[in-house]
């Protein structure tokens, strides 16, 4: 009774425990697994091609990786490792082809065995000959890397094949040519692997996922999917912000290399910005075999070593209905994001450029202003992004039929929270310590913005809202803490200039200009607003194709605005983004 064709599904727990799947699971098949070559997880298919031609065993010699210099070309290619005519079962077969090839190889065995520099020179199949050299007028006689040779041999079909071998040490010597066939690696009917392969031969050079591969895996396999830079574990009692980041800005912003070899907390250094720069300070091969278990689990960007404390739940009152939510987004949150972006941008213009700071007698000022300008730019860009998301939330509400209309929100707010429970007038100001204080206050966790977005998130949890809306709100919300931390870093950097005489040496003498003085900049600014407004309106009505060019144009003009603004600021003129009293 054959039930193998039947579909049987075990439903309850005992059935699941007892059911035996007939045959080997599909994941054991060679073609199933990811990355079964170079190296390989269950098998390395390069090992098949070592014996592509009966009676001969090759080794593919190449560089360590494609980026390495091509400095020993004479060693690269398919190197004849040994001649295996006595044990290769295909040559013992009882047919004319096998007998002829066996004889041929026997006759040449002495020649081939006498030297160790025989390489595959060419292969010929179906009337086409493939050379194992790169023919280039500038570089004649340029052997291909073993990896490329292997790839060419992979392309051969099973069946008749002619090959040529040559000595690298005697380029003028005679070629040895064999006429034979490309081996069937597996039996076409049964799938059984050819008997020429010795036990273990196909398993050579496999991955070691728990060890070296944390270091070097280049596939899309899990061992390669580890974090690069992470925050260190927080010690018990460390003051933290609401997102569980350390309150101390230096610690809160210090990202360390996950693979770092030096793991004591006291001397942790920030991870560099490229893998290559971090490489010398990471666990090396000889270390990681012993140390892999010291690599930490990472949750929410933080290493967890001993005890994991889950994030705290935040509670907020949802807005009563979509109309109330939309009003909050339109009248408060959107305009505030826009004001913040402009205030931060203005403050950035007020800082000396790195070139200007280079002439200062303050030795670190050039680095300081570079760092602060970079930080302000990131935060200002972020606020612009938030403005876009607020608009997106609004048009999602509209498209879901929850609000009657959508109008772009692209105007600044006259007032901002002062972070102390009150309000202050929006103001374009230089980055003085007082301005920085105001920035820190408004971004302070658990402040007004934070609270407002928590309410937005709580509202969007209700199933009446579009499913993805909550993700936008959560991203805005989590950025807030990051901004606070960055401003605290700026504060730390500026401490060096306390009590300087003259005061505030890192600032330009910028004052808010008249609309006439800043006419060029304001014209670009108005164009940006116009393009964004039209682009968002198109998006809101499903016109992605129509809106995208406009939004892209606005982005390009933002860069333009940056350059014009810089020039004006160097001349002491600040852009009046809104009318001044």
């Amino acid at each position: 009774m054959d039930n193998r064709s039947g579909k049987i599904f075990p439903r309850n727990l005992t059935a699941r425990a007892a059911y035996q799947v007939p045959g080997n699971p599909t994941v054991t098949r060679l073609e199933d697994a990811v990355g079964n070559c170079y190296p390989g997880l269950e098998v390395d298919v390069r090992n098949f091609d070592r014996r592509f031609f009966p009676g001969l065993v090759f080794e593919f010699v190449g560089r360590d990786d494609n980026g390495a210099p091509y400095d020993e070309p004479q060693r690269y290619g398919a190197w004849l490792r040994y001649v295996d005519y006595l044990f290769d079962p295909e040559l013992q077969a009882d047919n004319a082809d096998a007998r002829r090839l066996l004889l041929d190889i026997e006759l040449n065995a002495g020649t081939l065995g006498a030297h160790t520099d025989w390489y595959l020179e060419w292969v010929e199949q179906g009337g086409k000959r493939l050379s194992m050299r790169l023919h280039n007028p500038d570089n004649p006689d340029y052997p291909l890397d073993g990896l490329y040779v292997w790839r060419l041999l992979r392309g051969l079909a099973p069946g008749a094949l002619k090959i040529g071998l040559k000595r690298r040490g005697a380029p003028d010597g005679a070629e040895v040519v064999f006429e034979g066939w490309r081996r069937h690696f597996t039996d076409p009917v049964t799938g059984v692997i050819n008997n020429a392969y010795l036990p273990g031969e196909l398993l050579q050079s496999l991955c070691s996922p728990w060890q070296h591969d944390f270091r070097d895996c280049a596939c899309m396999y899990w061992a390669s999917n580890h974090p690069d830079a992470v925050f260190q574990e927080l010690e018990p009692g460390e003051p933290i912000l609401p997102n569980d980041q350390a309150a101390n800005p230096l610690l809160g912003n210090l990202r360390v290399d996950w693979l770092r070899a030096e793991r004591s907390r006291d001397i942790s250094a920030e991870a560099a910005n490229t893998i290559a720069k971090n490489r010398p300070y990471q666990f090396d091969h000889f270390q990681i075999n012993h140390e892999w278990q010291n690599l930490n689990v990472v949750l929410h960007d933080h290493e967890i070593d001993s005890v994991y404390v889950p994030l705290r739940e935040r509670h907020a009152n949802p807005y009563a209905n979509p109309a109330e939510l939309a009003r909050e987004l339109r009248e408060k949150l959107g305009p505030m994001e826009m004001t913040l972006a402009l205030e931060y941008l203005y403050a950035r213009f007020s800082l000396l450029s790195p070139e200007e700071a280079a002439g200062s007698h303050w030795r670190t000022m050039k680095e300081d202003v570079t760092f602060i300008r970079g930080g302000l730019m990131i935060i200002a860009t972020c606020e612009m992004q938030h403005l876009r998301w607020v608009n997106e939330l609004l048009w999602m509400l509209h498209n879901a039929g929850l609000t009657p209309s959508y109008e772009p929100v692209l105007h600044p707010a006259p007032q901002l929270p002062d972070g102390k429970g009150g309000w202050r007038d929006s103001a374009l100001r230089r980055l003085t310590p007082e301005t920085l204080d105001a920035f820190i206050n408004i971004e302070r966790p658990s402040g007004f913005l934070d609270g407002a977005y928590s309410r937005v998130i709580a509202t969007l949890r209700s199933p009446i809202y579009p499913a993805h809306a909550i993700e936008l709100a959560e991203r805005i919300d989590s950025d807030g803490v990051d901004h606070y931390s960055r401003f605290r870093e700026v504060e730390t950097a500026l401490k060096a200039y306390q009590g300087a005489d003259p005061a505030l040496p890192y600032l330009r003498r910028v004052e808010i200009g008249t609309p006439e003085q800043a006419a060029a900049a304001l014209a670009i600014y108005q164009e940006i607003l116009r393009d964004l407004g039209q682009g968002y309106t198109d998006y809101a009505h499903g016109g992605m194709a129509e809106g995208a060019p406009l939004v892209n144009a606005a982005r390009l003009k933002m860069n333009e605005l940056l350059q014009v603004g810089e020039k004006l600021a160097a001349d002491g003129i600040g852009i009046p983004f809104w009318p001044q009293k």
Partner: protein, 455 residues
């Protein structure tokens, strides 16, 4: 009507159809498999050829459950104490014959209760869970003794590092709010016998003077429903020919706020009065299925429905229950009479057929071995040839010994429906079987504890 498929001939496999295709229940370890048509036909052909042939079609090489043998001298795990062999009600069908088990009304002496509790904990080891159930008669007629025995058990449990769990079955008429506080403190499973809403209950469960007891019982129970956190209160409906409208009863109690309502049919009463007859079982089955359908409908809408029989059937089928006996009676569980005599369960109190020793001297092991050998479901007829035997266990010993097995078709019909419902729910609400404790009304497995099938 009783489902035709419940007459399946094979003792090894039961085939049933669902909206999600053909399925099979294997008697061995109650395994449930979804099949395609071809496999279903092969299985139907193999059904009469023995368990090996059935397994081969599914592709199983050996039985999952081990061979059924009587356990030897199993440890004592549960006792029920008939703390008061007297009752203030005069129910028509009572197996205890108005509480006294056919003898003189009597109350358990403290020495007997104390000896019983100490015997239960005598061989307890750290981590063991031991159950005490208070029954009668009406156990609240012996309130002080009940509380003292509970506290002694808590104390002994603490000293030994063992868990003490408690349950009580009461008619509700003597319940006081301080009882509620006591039960809550000790996490009691409280089963209140309620046979219907209003007049239906009154007809079946009158006071001895003939007056109805519903109003008093409900008045006492409702405040306890609001108090339950650790304790679990369930209504247990004894089904007789006079209260066969299960849907109405179930919905009535659900409306009152009960989170667990269970039905148990009267198969046998000492006088023969109120026993269900063959024609009644057909109505009972239709009613049970109607309640089950409602349960499915509510589950699909993610609402609760306090149908305890269905909850436990779904749980048992999901885990693949394979029971050699219907309950723990005479194995790990015994009923203790007011005089301290031990019986196979609370129903056998003062019945020589179930005598098992005395709490002073312990379990009569020779009698117990004989009992366990004889009562094994594989030795019962017609159970040996029934596909449902390891889900059912052979039926209540007390009823079977007295009246035989008149309800087998009802049980198979109910299980056949439950299997289909299980398939539907496992497709539509897989999360229901995913281990969330919420679905069983807050305290899953302990709703009615495992050993005695209280009725």
């Amino acid at each position: 009507m009783i489902a035709a498929s419940s007459f399946e001939a094979s003792p090894d496999v039961h085939l049933f159809d669902t909206e999600f295709g053909p399925h099979a229940l294997l008697a061995d370890a109650s395994q449930v498999f979804a099949l395609d048509e071809q496999t279903r036909d092969e299985l139907a052909r193999a059904a009469g050829l023995g368990p090996d042939a059935v397994r081969e079609v599914i592709g199983l090489s050996r039985p999952l459950a081990s061979a059924m043998e009587a356990p030897r001298d199993p440890p004592l795990r549960s006792l029920s104490l008939a703390v008061a062999q007297a009752c203030n009600l005069g129910c028509t069908y009572c197996y205890a014959q108005e509480g006294s088990f056919g003898g003189k009304a009597k109350e358990m002496a403290w020495r007997t209760a104390e000896t019983s509790v100490r015997r239960l904990f005598a061989d307890a080891e750290r981590g063991d869970t031991l159950h005490i159930s208070f029954l009668g008669g009406e156990p609240l007629a012996a309130r002080e003794l009940l509380r003292d025995a509970t506290e002694l058990a808590v104390e002994l449990g603490r000293a030994k590092g063992a868990n003490a769990k408690f349950s009580i079955t009461t008619n509700g008429t003597l319940l006081r709010s301080d009882d509620g506080e006591f039960f809550e403190r000790h996490g009691f499973a409280v089963t209140v016998s309620l046979d219907g809403v209003g007049a239906v209950h009154d007809r079946l469960r009158p006071f001895k003077n003939g007056r109805g007891s519903y109003e008093r019982a409900i008045e006492n129970v409702l405040p306890l429903l609001a108090m339950q956190r650790r304790m679990q209160i369930s209504a247990r409906v004894t089904v007789t020919p006079d209260n066969l409208d299960l849907r109405e009863t179930l919905d009535g109690f659900a409306e009152l706020g009960f989170t667990s309502v269970g039905f148990s049919p009267v198969l046998r009463s000492p006088t023969g009065k109120s026993e269900l007859r063959a024609s009644d079982f057909q109505i009972l089955l239709a009613q049970m299925i109607a309640c089950g359908r409602e349960f499915e409908r509510r589950m699909a809408q993610r609402q609760r429905y306090p149908f305890a029989n269905m909850h436990s059937a779904m749980r048992e089928i999901h885990r693949g229950t394979h029971r050699p006996y219907p309950c723990g009676a005479g194995a790990g569980y015994f009923g203790v009479s007011a005089d301290g005599d031990m019986f196979a369960c609370h129903r056998f109190v003062d019945d020589a057929a179930g005598a098992m020793g005395h709490v002073e001297t312990g379990v009569d092991r020779a009698r117990q071995r004989q009992w366990l050998e004889e009562r094994l479901v594989d030795r019962q007829e017609p159970c040996r040839s029934c596909w449902a035997r390891y889900l059912c266990g052979g039926g209540c010993h007390h009823e079977v010994i007295a009246r035989g097995r008149p309800a087998c078709d009802f049980i198979r019909g109910w299980l056949d429906y439950c299997l289909q419902a299980y398939v539907r729910l496992s497709v539509l609400r897989p999360d229901y079987f995913g281990g969330s404790p919420d679905y069983f009304g807050g305290s899953p497995a302990e709703v009615v504890f495992e050993a005695p099938a209280l009725s």
